[in-house]
Each structure stands twice: as structure tokens, then as C-alpha cells.
Symmetry: C2
Subunit: 455 residues, 2 copies
């Protein structure tokens, strides 16, 4: 007997039910992206390694899946090089292609290659899998989907506002209550500027984040431990204790950062975004949160993150503004702002809160039982009409035992079954059975259609 097949670790098969749920997530996000004028693109799964390498740090280079060259991949390699067994160095000789690691670098590459055809600002979205040779663990996969939307070629804060509206709309449609957290890299830059500790941003945000848990004294002790001077810690006090409404926080920051041009710019940007959103009646709360420091090496303005309120789970969406997306490919001056929905985590949240709408997950609405060739022929004519009415319908293909056919309908959670035997055929009708209530009713095909359409 052949060996039992398996799939590579960190990868997944998606069953019909999982696919229906995933499609519901992607379709919801896609619909909202469209509402805001975003357009979809797709890029190849493989990129040249020259496009990918050096873009994700040394660690990222190691995590790229590399594709072996076709044909004689040894040509051009000396015996000495081979015997050196330098895996990393020889990889770039054996392989010239790698699998997409994220959607950002391929997007940058796309913008550079298609710059002549793009009408800027370019509002693009992309929903595709990415691959990372990470150590697999619970909730971390080697193949997973990203759902990114970015606007490039516009510095306007209207983009930030609209991305927050998109986030609010998407999670409202999902029925997931969230807190949208917003920060600004320029505020953080201003803070370290006024205390003269430019390289301590992360230490400071990490310490502030602990206020609720360990109290002010311990936060200050931690800052001191990290090498931040007493005077600087004193200046940080109003920032550590920052509280109240967003407007109150911004007022405090404006005072504390009065000597920092970049800091004030960050406050002003945040003010614009929050003030504009206030007139938009978002369904979810937006909170200015200085501890938000994700992607700090990358983001240059607003930073976003979304937390689910009713489930313990990490951030389910994130994003921010960045400069110079395409500089690495020789095209300067393209800045942008973007968000990325975490599809796998949203999948988990919707599962835990049982929020999938029935109609999103439902497949076949009615199955015709098959009693034999004559009955099947009769049923198939009814089926054609049922399907022409847009109803998802099937006939059990074999005239198998009733128990098997009903078992199939149950396994597929088909809500209605139509039974067509001799009597029904004589009347030109079908016996419609509601699988939940068990109720049966003799109906014409027109009545059957009306019933299933809820009329």
C-alpha cells in the first residue's frame, strides 16, 4: 500500500465550510474596499529573489521560500564553492526566484513597473497568500492570506480618515465590536526629541504600556533602568499619565510637545483625523494610544491597530503611513498609507463569537432524492426550473438507499429535501420536506420555488 500522504508543515487544507467562512470574510472586505474606490491587483506568487532579498532584514531573507532553478542549477558553480556547503550563499546560485513574503514589496515593484499606466493616487487592494518559512506554531502558518489596501501618491490625511471608515464599516458588517487605536510616529519622535533620547522610543512605549499593571513608580523605575535620565523622566510624567478623551490627550500633548516641531505636526495630524471622524458617526470607538508602536521602523505618520473587544486575541488589523515605498527600486517620492486585515484572526474571532450569518455559510438549499431513472428524469426537469430561479439545488446522483441519501443531506446541512416517487410524478408535484421541522408538503415546482425564496 502507498504511503499515507501528508501536507507540508505549517500549511492547511480548507474544507468546504472553512472556505465558505473565508469567502464571507474576503467578500465583506472586498465589498467595502470597492465602496471606497479601491481597485484589486494581483502579482505573481514568485518574485525574483533580487526583488525580495534585503527588504525584510537578515531574518526575513532566511524566511524566504526559494525556488530551485529549472534544468542544471549546478552550472557556473565551482567544485570549491559546492564543497564549501555555504547554504545561504549557494542558495542565491541554485535559486533566482522566491515566494512572495508579503504584499508590500510586490506592490512597490508593481508600482515601479507600471508607473506609466497608473493614475495616481493609486488606491489598490490585494488579497493573496504569502509564504514564510517561520517555525509553525498555533495560529502561525507558513502560508496565509493578507488583505491589504493602500493609497500611494497622496499625502492627504483624507486617506487616513477613509481607511478608518473602512475599518469601522468592515467590523460593523462582521458584527465584531472593536476599538480602533491610533497613534502617530511624529508624536513619538517629538517625545524623544524633547527628552533628548532619540533611540529610546520602544523602551518608553513599552514602559508606558505597563502603567495599569505595575503602577507609576514601577514604570519610572523601569525607565531609569533603561538608562533614561531623571530630568527626562520628569518631563515624561504627563505623557505616562496621559488620560481622558482624545481631545484632552491631544491638548496635553500640545503643551508638552510645544518645543518640538515634529511632535506638534503629529498632534495636528491626529487632531485632523479624529475631528473629521467625529462627524462621520463611526460605530466603533477610536482611541489615541501612545503605546502603539508597531512597525516603527517603517511608519512615518499615523499608525493604526484594531483590537477586538469581546475576544482575547492580538491585533486583528493594522497599518499606517509610510514614506518612500519604491525608493529601493529607484523610484523616489512615492509615499502612502495602508491597512491590512488579519484574515486568520478575524476567522477565529467570528468563530468564537459565532457571528457567521447563516446565508454566508449555507450551500445547497434543496436536494432531490433519487428513486431511479424515471424519477430522476422527472426531478431533473424540476431542478432545471429551481436552478433557473437562482436556488442552489442538487439531486443525489445514484438511486441509493434512502438512509444514505438522507445522511448525505444531513451531512451537507441541506435544509430542504424533495421526494419524488410514483405518486408525486402522477400529480406532477414533489413532496417537500423541511429537514429541521420534519414537516412535509406536496407542492408544485412553482410552489416549491416560492417556498424556498421565502414567499
Amino acid at each position: 500500500m502507498a504511503a499515507k500522504p501528508s501536507i507540508p508543515k505549517g500549511t492547511r487544507d480548507f474544507s468546504p465550510v472553512e472556505m465558505a467562512k473565508r469567502n464571507y470574510i474576503f467578500d465583506t472586505i472586498r465589498d467595502v474596499y470597492h465602496l471606497y474606490g479601491f481597485q484589486q491587483i494581483e502579482t505573481p506568487s514568485m518574485e525574483m529573489l533580487s526583488t525580495l532579498m534585503g527588504k525584510y532584514g537578515d531574518e526575513g531573507d532566511k524566511l524566504l521560500f526559494k525556488i530551485q532553478n529549472s534544468g542544471d542549477y549546478f552550472s557556473g558553480i565551482t567544485d570549491e564553492e559546492l564543497l564549501s556547503r555555504n547554504a545561504a550563499k549557494l542558495a542565491s546560485k541554485f535559486c533566482e526566484k522566491g515566494l512572495r513574503y508579503d504584499l508590500t514589496v510586490p506592490f512597490a515593484r508593481y508600482v515601479v513597473m507600471h508607473r506609466e499606466d497608473i493614475a495616481f493616487p493609486f488606491k489598490r487592494y490585494q488579497i493573496q497568500p504569502v509564504w514564510r518559512a517561520d517555525r509553525p506554531q498555533k495560529g502561525r502558518y507558513r502560508e496565509f492570506y493578507q488583505c491589504d489596501a493602500d493609497v500611494v501618491g497622496s499625502d492627504s490625511l483624507v486617506n487616513e480618515v477613509e481607511l478608518m471608515q473602512i475599518i469601522d464599516t468592515v467590523f460593523s458588517r462582521f458584527g465584531i465590536r472593536v476599538c480602533i487605536k491610533i497613534n502617530n510616529r511624529k508624536i513619538l519622535s517629538g517625545i524623544v526629541e524633547i527628552i533628548g533620547e532619540a533611540d529610546k522610543i520602544v523602551d518608553i512605549t513599552v514602559a508606558i504600556d505597563k502603567l495599569d499593571k505595575i503602577g507609576l513608580d514601577n514604570v519610572n523605575a523601569e525607565l531609569k533602568e533603561k538608562g533614561i535620565g531623571e530630568e527626562a523622566i520628569a518631563k515624561l510624567q504627563p505623557i505616562i499619565l496621559l488620560s481622558g478623551t482624545n481631545a484632552e490627550k491631544l491638548a496635553t500633548l500640545k503643551e508638552v510637545l510645544s518645543a518640538s516641531e515634529i511632535g506638534l505636526k503629529g498632534v495636528e495630524e491626529s487632531e485632523f483625523i479624529l475631528r473629521t471622524l467625529q462627524t462621520m458617526n463611526l460605530k466603533n470607538e477610536i482611541e489615541l494610544d501612545l503605546t502603539l508602536a508597531r512597525g516603527l521602523n517603517y511608519y512615518t505618520g499615523a499608525i493604526f491597530e484594531v483590537k477586538a473587544l469581546d475576544v482575547q486575541i492580538g491585533s486583528i488589523t493594522g497599518g499606517g503611513r509610510y514614506d518612500n515605498l519604491t525608493g529601493v527600486f529607484g523610484m523616489a517620492g512615492v509615499s502612502g498609507v495602508g491597512i491590512s486585515f488579519g484574515a486568520d484572526r478575524i476567522f477565529d474571532v467570528l468563530n468564537q463569537l459565532d457571528l457567521y450569518p447563516k446565508e454566508a455559510v449555507n450551500g445547497t438549499e434543496i436536494m432531490f432524492v433519487n428513486f431511479g431513472e424515471k424519477e430522476a428524469a422527472f426531478s431533473m426537469n424540476m431542478l432545471a426550473k429551481v436552478r433557473a430561479a437562482g436556488i442552489r439545488a442538487e439531486i443525489f446522483p445514484d438511486s441509493a438507499k434512502m438512509k444514505k441519501q438522507m445522511g448525505y443531506a444531513n451531512a451537507k446541512q441541506i435544509p430542504f429535501v424533495a421526494i419524488v416517487g410514483e405518486n408525486e410524478m402522477n400529480e406532477g408535484k414533489a413532496m417537500l420536506k423541511n429537514m429541521e421541522s420534519g414537516e412535509q408538503q406536496l407542492v408544485s415546482v412553482e410552489e416549491l420555488i416560492a417556498k424556498l425564496q421565502g414567499n
Copy 2:
């Protein structure tokens, strides 16, 4: 300056317009699959090479994209082996994973691994990319999508009938006129059985296919050349000259194949399929065509192929019945029947015939011009209502020159533009401009929505 980026040969970027068209194709196929009770699955892009190797012949093994193992892929390889530079042999040491080559083998692997959770007959569809290290050429890519539907675990010919209905419905929805060709492996087996030339099926079908072009005498000469005896060629005459309606062809075949059990079985199966379809009022013609011999090593019953009538292009859909899908993975007795739509060719046909419906390709329906902060704020409140009504709308994010903003609207083929300046704000309205006719009209947001919804 950085090097100009490029993408691997044989791969493609898809622009927004191309994506909209591709989504239209996939969504149409998906909708019809759902109407017939098919459920979607997805499998990982990478499979173990042990799953893929040996399933596509030697040529296929060479065309697999192999993924280099992470970490030290040299371990366990001797210096001698390395210096042998045997690329094919060492590939299986350097690599344990490969990219999906088609959707059939991963599906077979899926069925085996999930057999306990599947309610048979399993009607699954799958729309995912596959990768082949083929020499790229016009219309042949190294990454392309397949859209397969299969029913496994049922021998009923009802499945064949429904797959033909699916093909007919899909191409009717596309507006592509097609001829659906059908053949049966068992008929071909019967033919070679009665003439005693079991290994000449392909030669015979190729020769018959030339009848219209080269005439009967030349066909017979070619058959003789291929080593087929005179008596056999005499027996083949009614088959070479087979013509008329499907019923007439079947009647002839029934006579000619009267001595072949398998041949008669093929006739009977084809009769059932064609007779049942006749009561279904298909929009497209179905033709019994004995020259259809695709996938002959694989198919065991019905064979299908679809040709576009109004465009010169190869087959745009194909499929057939096969035995023993999963035997190679140690699970016997799973037979099935399936079809596969050729998305790339359908894309070309729809382009050539200009058949994409406007609403399928259209993106943003209205753009608000941006005259500055105050006007933008006013417009964004209108926008919120427009979007709440389900209308795809955007505002130009920057208050750029009018010419730039209108250029953007034109490039994105946005049919309506809303102009909101001082006067419009004072009236609480917007100037709605039809970009095609140039017509302008001062409207309230409610009137704007009604206009765009076509009321």
C-alpha cells in the same frame, strides 16, 4: 540608482481592469457551480514532492517547481554526491516540497486525508493557481489558474449530464456560443477491439479528424501507413464516415460495435447522456465527436471538450470520467468525473468578442472633486450617505488642480463626478456631472443617490 525590477518569465501582474474581468469569469463559474451543489475547497500551494512526483510522467516531474529546504539543505549529502552534479537526483535531497502542478493530484490527496469527514458523493470545486516550469510562450504561462469541478464517489451518469448543463449555463451567461463535444473512451476501446488494433486509438482518431481536409482516400492511406491492415480499414469505413445527428451516429455505432461489449457500453452511456440532455433545452449544441481523444490515458468513460464557435482558439473547457483517483495514495475504489474551465482562454475569447458586461468591469461610480478642506469635509458627509446606499464612491484625496482630478476620473473611467464648491455648499447640494454627456445638474444627496441607482 537601483536595478529595474522585473518578474519571473512566464508570470504576470494583473492590473485592476484585468482583475475585474478575471473576477467576473471566476464569479460566474463559481455561481453556477454553487447552483449545482458543488462546494469549494482550497489546498496549499506547496505539496510534499512525495505527493507530486511520479504523477505527471517524467516530463511532468521535470516541470515541477521545487522549493529548497530551509536551513542547511546540504546535510546528509556526501561530497561525492555533490560533485556528481546530478541535478535531478540532488533536487530530491535539496527539496522536499514543490508547487502544485494541477488541482487533481492535490484533490486526490485531500480526499484520502479527509475521507472520514467527507460526505460522498463529494462534489467539490477548486479555483487556484498552478505552476509549471514549461517554456513560456504566447498564451502559455508558468503560473495560471485552473477552475475544476469534480464529483467523486458516484458512478451515476447523472453527474455527466449535470456537468454538461453547467458548461451550457456558464457559456450562456458569458454570451459565448460554443459547441460541446462529447465522446466516450469505451466507444474508442470498442473500435480498436473490433479491428484488433488495441494500441492504435490515437492514430485512428487523428486520421479520422482529417477527413474534411484530405478526403477519404487519403485518410485510408494514412491508416495503412500507420500499419493498420486492410480488413481493419474496411471495418473502419462506417466509423470514418460517421455523420448525421447524434442519434444517427449512435445507431451506426451500435451496429458496427455489436460484437464489442465495452463498445456497446460506451454507446449506451452516450445515449443516456444525450437523451437526458435533450429534455433539458440546452442553449448550446452538443455533438458526439469520435475524434475527441484528450487525456486518453486518464479517462475511462465520457470525454468532454468545448470549442468556441466565433473565435479561433483551442479547447476552452474539457473533462471526463476517470477511475481510481486515489489509488496511488492507497485508497481504492474512488472514481469520478470532472470538468475544468480554461480561464485564460475564456478571458481572451471574452476580450475578442467584447462580451464583458459594463457593470462587471466598472469600478467607482462617482468621484467628488476636492476643492479644499472645508469642501472636502462637506463632501465626505455626502459620501457617507452615498456609500451607505451601496454606491461605489470616492473623493480625490488632495485639493489638486481641477485638470489633475478630472484626469484621474477619466483614467479610472468614473462615469459621474460631483462638484462641491462654495455655491453648492450654501445650497446644501452638489453639482452632478455626467462624464460622458457632459451634462450638469444641481442635486441634493438624495437626488444624487436616486440618479446613480437609475431611478
